[in-house]
Amino acid sequence: MIQSHLRRLVGSHAVAGYGFLLPWLIGFFFLAVGPSLISLYLAFTDFDLLTSPEWVGMANFERILTADAKFMASMRVTFMFVILSVPLKLALALIVAVALNKGLGGLSIYRAIFYLPSLLGASVAIAILWRQLFSGDGLVNMALEPFGIIGPSWISNPNYSLWTLVALSVWQFGAPMIIFLAGLRQIPADLYEAASLDGAGPWRQFRRITVPMITPVIFFNLIIQTIDAFKSFTPSFVISGGTGGPINSTLFYTLYLYQEAFGFFRMGYASALAWILLIIIAVFTALSFLSSRYWVHYDE
């Protein structure tokens, strides 16, 4: 009796399904949920990797929010980066996608070329290349020299350093572009035909048909790219040599968090920083979803 039950259970689809899910479930619980819960606990301790964690209550959060100048600097840099890079990247992605959607020959080749930086962009190698491009004697200044312009060291000048990171981020417009392209192809051609019969030229068609029709795609890209920008780390780490300099001008939030965790081994403090970032991203995402009902148009 028990044996036949067991045999039926082992042979059932549910067991097979959970069997296939198991590697992912193990990863999810041991590499995501588990560490997250532990970090939540550590955020309320003074854990320093060497001694056992002592409960400090809200002390870490209090210090971060009231007495940490570097936290404020990193917040300012990160918000500036998000506000500058995300709209520029999405605008460029949309412009290129619209151009590619015009029935250009060799579409797949262009698509691959434009997508390539997205694959390479977050890598250390590209960040190093960026440092070479924008350094005092880098390629950008070499290109400007024939025009009589003696450019500064873009990455060493606090007025420009963040812009080099914004440029690197915008250069990686390939992923949102591919998604925009897929969205543009879903717009029925007869809407444009109806609009052209209504006398709408290309700009009015873009503004009144294309943009509203792809607002779900814009919304998706906005969320993904903003979260990505908040979490951005490698470019700032490599280009500033891990310092966030000059004068904290490239001190991304994640870089500051890294410095606290692995530079000063203040794991409890860094955990509190990580949870603040999570809350910021969650609030942004929630606000985006709340606002979406006013500007995102879903058909059917």
């Binding site: 029925p188 007869d190 809407l191 035909e193 109806a194 609009a195 052209s196 019969l197 209504d198 006398g199 709408a200 009015r204 009144r208 048909i209 509203p212 029709m213 607002t215 148009h297 058909d299 059917e300």
Partner: protein, 331 residues
């Protein structure tokens, strides 16, 4: 007031593939013209060429005496109702109706007055604030027609506008479009593959096959004097019966047969009987296995599998030569 349309030696080719060649047609002012034909016959392409949505490869499109080949779609004085309705899904009904007028930078009071007028004609006033996704198929179709009306075009074009509606609604909208034509008096060109729509709505039917006009005429003219086998078979429902007749073909409409008097056609075996209440459709097979349909008045008690003596009315017989062209006259 109403507008004439002329197609002079019009041609359309996609690369080396020619889909319409040397097509000539005159549409009189105020006429309701229906392009009808099977799928792929070029009727929608022709309509889109008139609309300015497809470039014309050869010949002239003349509207009110003016060559229009190179005039942009918006400046041809036409409005089009699409098969898919093509309503802007992110705009409400009012915004859909007003879009073309806003694009033309018309004064706000004129826009409001025209939208209201169209809404009154089509009885869509209560729907003005709704989005297309909140409308039924029939309501969407009305809005699509409304969008054409507000522009006060010289010519209305309809591209299979009823094909997405259910049978009942289709009949209702057919009547509404016919009424609209009567009230507005504009030139209208209507594309359909449904010959019943063509017969019931048209002043003039243009039967197309493979990019060539097979016949142009009033609905009853096409019904009574089809120029060839294709038109004879396409116009009329149920379709005309064809029997071998020497080297040619004898055509007899299902409604022009009798079980008691006329010229005998021989006995036919009954395969299927459809009792429609007012009429009875009998699907039978003639000698040699040729299918033959009879449309009889009233409710007939006919058993499947029996043989029926069938007679035809000689005054309504159609004769076609070996090439399928009409011989002489009938009816």
């Amino acid at each position: 007031m109403a507008t004439s349309v002329a197609l002079n030696s019009v041609a359309k080719a996609y690369g080396a593939v020619s889909v319409i060649e040397n097509l000539n047609l005159n549409i009189e002012p105020g006429e309701f013209t229906v392009f009808v034909g099977p799928s792929g016959c070029g009727k929608s392409t022709l309509l889109r060429m008139i609309a300015g949505l497809e470039p014309i490869s050869g010949g002239d499109l003349v509207i009110d005496g003016q060559r229009m080949n190179d005039v942009p779609a918006a400046q041809r004085g036409i409005a089009m109702v699409f098969q898919s309705y093509a309503l802007y899904p992110h705009m409400n009904v009012q915004q859909n109706l007003a879009f073309g007028l806003e694009t033309a930078r018309m004064p706000k009071d004129v826009i409001a007055q025209r939208v209201q007028h169209a809404a009154d004609i089509l009885k869509i006033e209560p729907l003005l604030k709704r989005k297309p996704k909140q409308l039924s198929g029939g309501q969407r179709q009305r809005v699509a027609i409304g969008r054409a009306i507000v522009r006060e075009p010289k010519i209305f074009l309809f591209d299979e506008p009823l094909s997405n509606l259910d049978a009942e609604l289709r009949v209702a909208m057919r009547v509404e479009i016919a009424k609209l034509h009567r009230d507005l008096g504009n030139t209208m060109i209507y594309v359909t593959h449904d010959q019943v729509e063509a017969m019931t709505m048209a002043d003039k039917i243009v039967v197309l096959r493979a990019g060539v006009i097979e016949q142009v005429g009033a609905p009853l003219e096409l019904y009574n004097r089809p120029r060839n086998l294709f038109v004879a078979g396409f116009i009329g429902s149920p379709k005309m019966n064809f029997l071998p007749d020497g080297n040619g073909t004898l055509g007899i409409r299902p409604e022009h047969v009798s079980l008691s008097s006329g010229v005998p056609l021989g006995d036919m075996r009954v395969e299927v009987v459809e009792n429609l209440g007012g009429q009875t459709v009998v699907h039978a097979t003639a000698a040699g296995g040729t299918p033959f349909t009879l449309l009889l008045d009233g409710q007939q008690r006919i058993d499947v599998g029996t043989s029926l003596p069938v007679f035809m009315d000689p005054d309504h017989a159609h004769r076609f030569d070996a090439k399928g062209e009409r011989i002489g006259g009938a009816a």
